[in-house]
């Protein structure tokens, strides 16, 4: 069907264009046709009488007043087929790995959420081999959980580790605002782990337009959701959602929206939620788990703050360690009562003691820590960090739990740890006879 083209562009902004047209649908896909014949995509985002506002996938730079706009009569879609596995795509869904374009079914992106009654209660632990995750903040299939970290922390390594060490059927990597070396790193890791043929990448690097970056999570999640509906267990990695939020802020600003906090649009929460909520364990099908990255300096910044209210916890990475405080898995209670009888209790006891020792750290700065118990708490804190908080130390859950008992016994008396007598009788190791902890590490 021949579609009408429009020529009288009214205004061109950084990512926005407006034009007079009629019969246009909200959210319709359009083409910007340059005088040279080149084409770029755009999407309708608002209508006001004849005035149509479009978001430009390639950005506004270089768009001229003699460009033409053609409305394509369809919404934004993404191709989907099993042949996408092993391939790399850009933020507008085009292959960028030099391979051929695929003949694929078109599926909608940013579709409605699944009916909550079609969700299952997440009940399956994902073993990652990372003690701070498996013991203290267990990851659960269909969980949505980001890593909170300062820029420069090894969060992408951890992301890639978790994705490749676990039993995911399909891995979708959504890279938003990646540096080129980060993109390269992901590709390399996936290939080294032999996971290439179960991975699809959607990549936006800093040289691409921000609108493409905005699209990446939607493309990754739409494709991931399709695999999940086929019965697969899908892992979607989104890095970095802070950059994504920043692009959202730029586009909202270009549309003269009233900013809420720190310039972010008032709907930041809803925007993030509609992406993260795609994570689900679907009744009668597979599951979709989302691991994200939220770079931040301060957890009260609007992006980590809104994210924390949406996701099912977060892993907090600091100085290369996975921190206990600040990290949380909201779904751990669904699974950690079925692992080993001591799991929950030792997790809480370790945390309580660590929190007590944090108090002593403050006190130490006043020079007021001199008693034996406090000094043992401080030692305990050091051992905890060395033995457990390294995100790249691989330990099976059971070994990690034994290690916890070893550490407790090394630093405390039985009655000091606040555990029930029953558990202590069952698990407390004799001082010095440790299963995992090396005696040389302390005393």
């Amino acid at each position: 069907m021949l579609r009408k083209t429009y020529e009288n562009i009214d205004s061109i902004g950084r990512a926005i264009l407006s034009i007079k047209a009629s019969g246009v649908h909200n959210k319709e896909l359009a083409e910007v046709i340059y005088p040279t014949g080149e084409k770029a995509f755009a999407q309708v985002i608002a209508l006001d009488g004849e005035q149509v506002t479009l978001q430009l996938f390639g950005g506004g730079f270089g768009v001229s007043t003699d460009c033409k706009i053609r409305f394509l009569g369809k919404p934004v879609q993404v191709g989907f087929s099993d042949d996408m596995l092993g391939r790399v795509y850009s933020g507008n869904g085009q292959p960028i790995d030099g391979g051929p374009e695929l003949m694929a079914d078109q599926i909608r992106i940013a579709g409605p959420s699944i009916n909550p009654v079609k969700r299952l209660i997440p009940k399956n632990m994902i073993r990652t081999g990372v003690p701070m995750i498996d013991v203290f903040n267990t990851l659960v299939r269909s969980q949505k959980i980001p890593i909170f970290a300062k820029a420069g922390e090894p969060y992408n390594q951890l992301l890639a580790n978790i994705a490749t060490q676990t039993d995911a059927d399909v891995i979708i990597i959504g890279g938003v605002g990646l540096k080129y070396d980060e993109y390269h790193y992901f590709r390399q890791r996936i290939e080294d782990a032999g996971s290439k043929n179960k991975t699809v990448m959607f990549v936006h690097t800093h040289r691409d337009s921000i609108v493409e970056g905005l699209m990446v999570p939607d493309l990754a999640l739409a494709v991931g959701e399709q695999f999940a509906l086929q019965g697969k267990n899908v892992f979607v990695l989104l890095s970095d959602m802070t950059q994504w939020s920043d692009y959202l802020r730029q586009v909202a600003n270009a549309q003269d929206q009233i900013p809420a906090n720190q310039g972010y649009p008032g709907d930041l929460y809803s925007q993030l939620a509609s992406r993260y909520e795609k994570a689900a364990d679907i009744d009668g099908a597979g599951s979709l788990t989302i691991l994200g990255v939220t770079t931040m300096d301060d957890v009260t910044h609007p992006v980590p703050d809104n994210t924390g209210y949406i996701t099912e916890g977060q892993f907090y990475m600091k100085d290369g360690y996975l921190e206990l405080f600040g990290s949380l898995s909201r779904l751990k209670q669904q699974v950690n009562d079925k692992t080993r009888s001591d799991h929950r209790n030792i997790m809480n006891a370790m945390a309580r003691l660590l929190s007590e020792s944090e108090e002593r750290v403050k006190a130490q700065k006043f020079g007021s820590v001199k008693d034996d118990y406090s000094l043992r708490l401080l030692d305990y804190r050091k051992t905890f960090q060395q033995e457990l908080m390294d995100p790249f130390r691989f330990l099976e859950l059971e070994d990690a739990l034994d290690l916890c008992w070893d550490i407790l016994s090394n630093h405390f008396k039985r009655e000091e740890v606040g555990l029930s007598s029953e558990l202590i009788d069952a698990y407390w190791p004799e001082k010095g006879k440790y299963k995992i902890l090396k005696n040389s590490t302390h005393e």
Binding site: L47, E277, I282, Y309
Partner: protein, 581 residues
């Protein structure tokens, strides 16, 4: 009355402008926008401007709408259908039952509407009025059994003036759509009545006679029941940063509160949390009734990825249903999680309307709306001398965990109890992480007033001594102070902290609360003669251990008494306890 019509003239996400082309438009009425594929999108008139321009907030995704699409106004405000069959159900923010929707599509496709209440189920109706009886709005016509209760069938509340019963259905099975009574006014006009009727969600139901909340509602959560209680008909808010335990607290309240009916309004929060409730509750037995917990529960879910404009509707709908069950003479509890998301939805719409923003871009009227919402809670004395109550516990999710923001502040002004959740406490795994010092309640506790003050004083002392220890070290304070400090720590860890994931410790009934308090008091009042911090700490460690072991035994179990006497013995020893408990 002919219905008004209009055409779409602008589309900006969920805010749609329409030009009124025929008939009169009512502010607040429901309108449908008809897309070119025939889908009907529900919306609500939120503003009428000059030149016949009407602003609609659309409860669905507005993709593929275009200029000129037809708008059909209904002449009716957004309403909820009230009648038997609400309990045990799960609906979206517009009262579409989710299980019914799932039979049509797995995903929440737009434009789908199903009957809010099952209109095929027959309810066994027993009339309590006779022909020629005089009735008016909210008079009781009879009752049907619904789950745990006799559900009263009312003359719709909107009926004004006196009517006589022309005919009333005989005892038997009827659906909610069948006529069960015909009433006649003074001039002979008749009206047919069914068991279910509509009520506009934004209009508070008038109280028959309002009274003051003064009876504590046991929640099973010790720190609340003892220190910061909520009353039947009262209001409370629990603001807190993410991860401080709001959700777990809400779930605990939903399970263990001694309300007759619990309504959960999952407003703009994670879908998974609502799923946990409606998949778990049918399996859980409420020890007070012996029936499934779901039988007393109604869930309204407009979760965070559902259309934003329906968040507001979901909160109001839950409240209206709550008011209706209060009229049944029941004690109703609404858990609204989270009111901040509702406020944010209002902010989004307000922004699109280009209203002049208030603090943090929230609309200026936000505080008025919040106060009016909490005002719908309360005690109602009913015509038959019975009372019903509606309590509201609202979660607030302040940006950055900072209570100094508009929604938290407005909420604090409107609620009777404040449970401030603290990240410091949750980091220390001291759950429930309700601030022991800053939280407040104006309602009476399950304990005596002086007992509450007694505990609060110890907690404050403990806090002061703790900061002294921080500055001066344990050696810098006297043994006496150290003992006081240990007592306050013990109170915190064995009484205020509670493991909500444990079947026994997770809920404490009033009887057990009393026993536990007495024991705590015993410990606090007992003189300790030990000298030296090490020995003191050890003594309290043993007591804590014994107390925790006691907390995990069933009340009335043999072990319970055994552990209790063990603990008492330890307390009475007053000195260093060598014996390993």
């Amino acid at each position: 009355m002919s219905k008004a019509k209009g055409r779409v003239i602008s589309v900006n996400e969920s805010l749609v402008g329409a030009k009124n082309t025929e008939g009169a438009v009512i502010n607040g009425e429901v309108a449908y926008i008809i897309l070119e594929d025939g889908k009907r999108l529900k919306s609500e008139v939120i503003d009428v401007k000059q030149g016949g321009v009407v602003y609609l907030q659309v409860f669905e995704d507005t993709g593929w709408m275009k200029i000129g699409d037809l708008v059909e106004f209904t002449g009716l405000p957004l309403a909820v259908k009230l009648g038997p069959g609400i309990l045990g159900s799960v609906t979206d923010g517009l009262q579409n039952p989710l299980y019914e929707l799932a039979k049509i599509e797995w995903f929440l496709e737009r434009g789908l509407e199903v009957s809010p209440l099952d209109n095929t189920q027959k309810w066994h109706f027993t009339p309590t009025v006779q022909k020629d009886d005089v009735v008016t709005g909210s008079s009781v016509l009879g009752h049907v059994p619904e789950k745990l209760f006799q559900h009263k069938i009312f003359v719709p509340f909107s009926v004004q003036g006196e009517y006589t019963i022309e005919s009333i259905a005989q005892e038997g099975g009827y659906t909610i759509d069948e006529t069960i009574a015909v009433i006649k006014d003074g001039s002979g006009n008749t009206q047919e009545l069914q068991m279910a009727f509509d009520w506009p969600v934004k209009k508070p139901m008038p109280f028959h006679e309002r009274s003051v909340p003064e009876k504590p509602m046991p929640t099973g959560i010790r720190i609340l029941d003892a220190l910061f209680p909520i009353a039947f008909g009262g209001t409370a808010c629990n603001p807190g940063p993410f991860g401080a335990g709001k959700t777990v607290l809400q779930h605990s309240l939903a399970r263990h509160s001694q309300a007759d009916v619990v309504i959960i309004a999952a407003c703009g929060e994670r879908a998974g949390e609502a799923v946990e409730v409606f998949k778990d509750f049918p399996e859980l037995i409420d020890p007070r009734t012996g029936k499934s917990l779901m039988d007393r529960t109604f869930i309204v879910g407009n979760t965070s990825s559902m259309p934003v404009a329906a968040r507001e509707a979901s909160v109001y709908m839950a409240t209206t249903v709550g008011e209706y069950y209060r009229k049944q003479g029941l004690n109703v509890l609404i858990l609204a999680d989270s009111t901040s998301r509702w406020a944010q939805a209002l902010r989004e719409t307000s922004g699109r309307k280009e209203e002049i923003p208030g603090p943090e871009a929230f609309p200026m009227y936000i505080s008025t709306l919040i106060s009016a919402f909490y005002d719908r809670a309360g005690i109602e004395k009913l015509p038959d001398e019975s009372t019903g109550s509606l309590s509201i516990i609202g979660t607030v999710s302040p940006a950055g965990g900072n209570f100094d923001e508009p929604v938290t502040q407005a909420t604090l002004l409107s609620t009777g109890a404040f449970w401030g959740l603290s990240r410091a406490l949750s980091d220390a795994r001291k759950y429930p992480a309700i601030d022991r010092i800053d939280s407040t309640s104006k309602y009476p506790s399950l304990l005596q007033k002086e007992e509450v003050l007694y505990l609060l004083e110890l907690l404050r002392d403990g806090k002061t001594i703790a900061s002294n220890i921080l500055l001066m070290g344990e050696k810098g304070i006297t043994d006496e102070s150290y003992i006081r400090y240990q007592k306050s720590e013990l109170l915190d860890s064995v009484f205020l902290q509670q493991n909500s994931f444990d079947e026994v410790d997770g809920v404490t009934n009033p009887e057990r609360l009393r026993l536990m308090f007495n024991m705590v008091k015993e410990i606090i009042d007992a003189p300790v003669t030990i000298q030296g911090k090490e020995g003191i700490r050890s003594h309290f460690n043993f007591m804590r251990q014994a107390f925790l072991d006691w907390n995990y035994t069933q009340l009335k179990d043999e072990k319970f008494e055994k552990q209790k006497s063990k603990l008492l013995k330890l307390v009475k020893q007053m000195g260093y306890a060598e014996e390993n408990v």
